[in-house]
C-alpha cells in the first residue's frame, strides 16, 4: 500500500514514467498532426461529417487542429512549455470526445479522423471504445500537466544550466 502511495506521489511529482508518457504522446500527436496536414481536404470532410461546426469553419479547423497537434506534440517531445502544451491538448481531447459522443448519440458511424492509427489495425470508427481511449490519453495529459519535474526535457536542462550558474 505504501509502495503504491509512493508511486502515486512520484508520478505526481514527475518521474521517468511521466517523461516516457510525455515522449510517447508527443510522437503520437506529431504523427497524427502531420498525417492530417498531408490531406487537409479529407480532414475537412471528416469535420463536416461530425456535423457540429458550420461548414464555413470546417476548412479552417482542418488546418488549425493538425497544426495545434504538431506544435503541442513537438513541444511535448522537446520538453519545452510542457504545461501549456499539455493544457491545450487536454482541452482538444475533451472537445474531440464530446464531438464523438454527440455523433454516437445521433447514431452516426464514420471514421473518426483522430490519430490516424488505422495502419496498425486499430479501428478508428467512432465508438465508445474511442471515447475510453481518449479518457486514457486525458489521464496521461493530466499527469504530464500536473508533474513538477520533467526528466529528459529541455526545461529540466535549462533549469540545470541556470542552477549551475548560481
Amino acid at each position: 500500500m505504501s509502495r503504491m502511495r509512493a508511486l502515486i506521489s512520484s508520478l505526481n511529482y514527475g518521474n521517468r514514467f511521466v517523461s516516457v508518457f510525455r515522449l510517447l504522446l508527443g510522437i503520437l500527436f506529431l504523427y497524427s498532426g502531420f498525417m492530417k496536414l498531408l490531406n487537409p481536404y479529407a480532414f475537412a470532410g471528416i469535420i463536416g461529417q461530425y456535423n457540429i461546426l458550420p461548414d464555413v469553419l470546417a476548412p479552417y479547423a482542418a488546418l488549425l487542429v493538425p497544426c495545434m497537434e504538431l506544435v503541442a506534440g513537438g513541444l511535448l517531445l522537446l520538453g519545452f512549455r510542457i504545461r501549456a502544451a499539455s493544457f491545450l491538448l487536454f482541452f482538444m481531447m475533451i472537445a474531440f470526445s464530446i464531438a464523438i459522443a454527440i455523433n454516437l448519440i445521433r447514431g452516426a458511424s464514420f471514421h473518426c479522423g483522430c490519430l490516424e492509427l488505422g495502419w496498425l489495425g486499430i479501428d478508428e470508427s467512432i465508438s465508445l471504445k474511442l471515447i475510453l481511449r481518449n479518457i486514457v490519453i486525458l489521464g496521461l495529459l493530466w499527469l504530464i500537466f500536473n508533474a513538477r519535474k520533467h526528466p529528459l526535457s529541455l526545461e529540466s536542462l535549462i533549469e540545470r544550466e541556470k542552477l549551475s550558474h548560481i
Binding site: Y60, C67, A84
Partner: protein, 168 residues
C-alpha cells in the same frame, strides 16, 4: 493554482495557438492543394466515408448498398464483389458518360460502396465525382481495397463487366 501561474499558462497557451495559426497559414500558402479558399460547395466533395472491409460486408449482408468496382473492365471480369457494378474511373473524360449509363443502378434507393485495389485512388475519385453530382445517400469507399475482400473469402463473382445491379 495561483493567479500568476494561471496568467502565465494563459499567455503561453495563447502563444502556442498563435504559433499553430502561423504554421497553418504557412502550410496553406505552400500546400500543393492550396486549401482554405475552397468553397463550401467543394467541402461537399469530402462527404465520402472510408470504411473497412467488415463494415462493407455488414452493408453487403443487409443488402443496403450497391457495390461499385472502380477498376478496369478486365480486372472486373477476372473477379469482383458478387453483384457489383463496374464503373471504371479511367479514362476520366468518359466518367460522366459511364455514370449516365449506370443511371438505373444508381437510382436504386441504396448507399454506394466503391472499391478498387489497395492504396488506389480510382474508387475515391469516382466516389467524389458521384457526391459532387449530388448523390443523396451515403457514399463509402472500402479503404483496404478488393484484395482484403478476397482474402476474407467474402462472396465474389466472375463475369464480364455489367452496368446494371444484379440481384444477389
Amino acid at each position: 493554482m495561483e493567479i500568476n501561474e494561471l496568467k502565465s499558462l494563459a499567455k503561453q497557451s495563447f502563444y502556442l495557438i498563435l504559433a499553430a495559426g502561423i504554421l497553418a497559414f504557412t502550410v496553406n500558402l505552400f500546400h500543393n492543394r492550396g486549401f482554405v479558399l475552397m468553397s463550401k460547395e467543394s467541402l461537399k466533395d469530402n462527404r465520402v466515408i472510408f470504411i473497412n472491409t467488415d463494415e462493407a460486408k455488414i452493408r453487403y449482408d443487409g443488402n443496403t448498398a450497391l457495390f461499385l468496382d472502380a477498376r478496369d473492365p478486365e480486372e472486373f471480369a477476372q473477379e469482383h464483389v458478387l453483384g457489383a457494378v463496374n464503373l471504371p474511373a479511367s479514362p476520366e473524360d468518359l466518367l460522366p458518360e459511364r455514370i449516365k449509363a449506370r443511371k438505373n443502378a444508381l437510382d436504386l434507393p441504396k448507399d454506394l460502396i466503391f472499391y478498387c485495389d489497395y492504396k488506389c485512388t480510382s474508387a475515391e475519385k469516382t466516389a467524389r465525382r458521384i457526391v459532387r453530382d449530388g448523390y443523396p445517400r451515403h457514399v463509402y469507399v472500402i479503404e483496404e481495397g478488393f484484395q482484403e475482400w478476397v482474402k476474407r473469402r467474402y462472396p465474389t463473382g466472375k463475369s464480364p463487366a455489367v452496368t446494371e445491379a444484379k440481384d444477389r
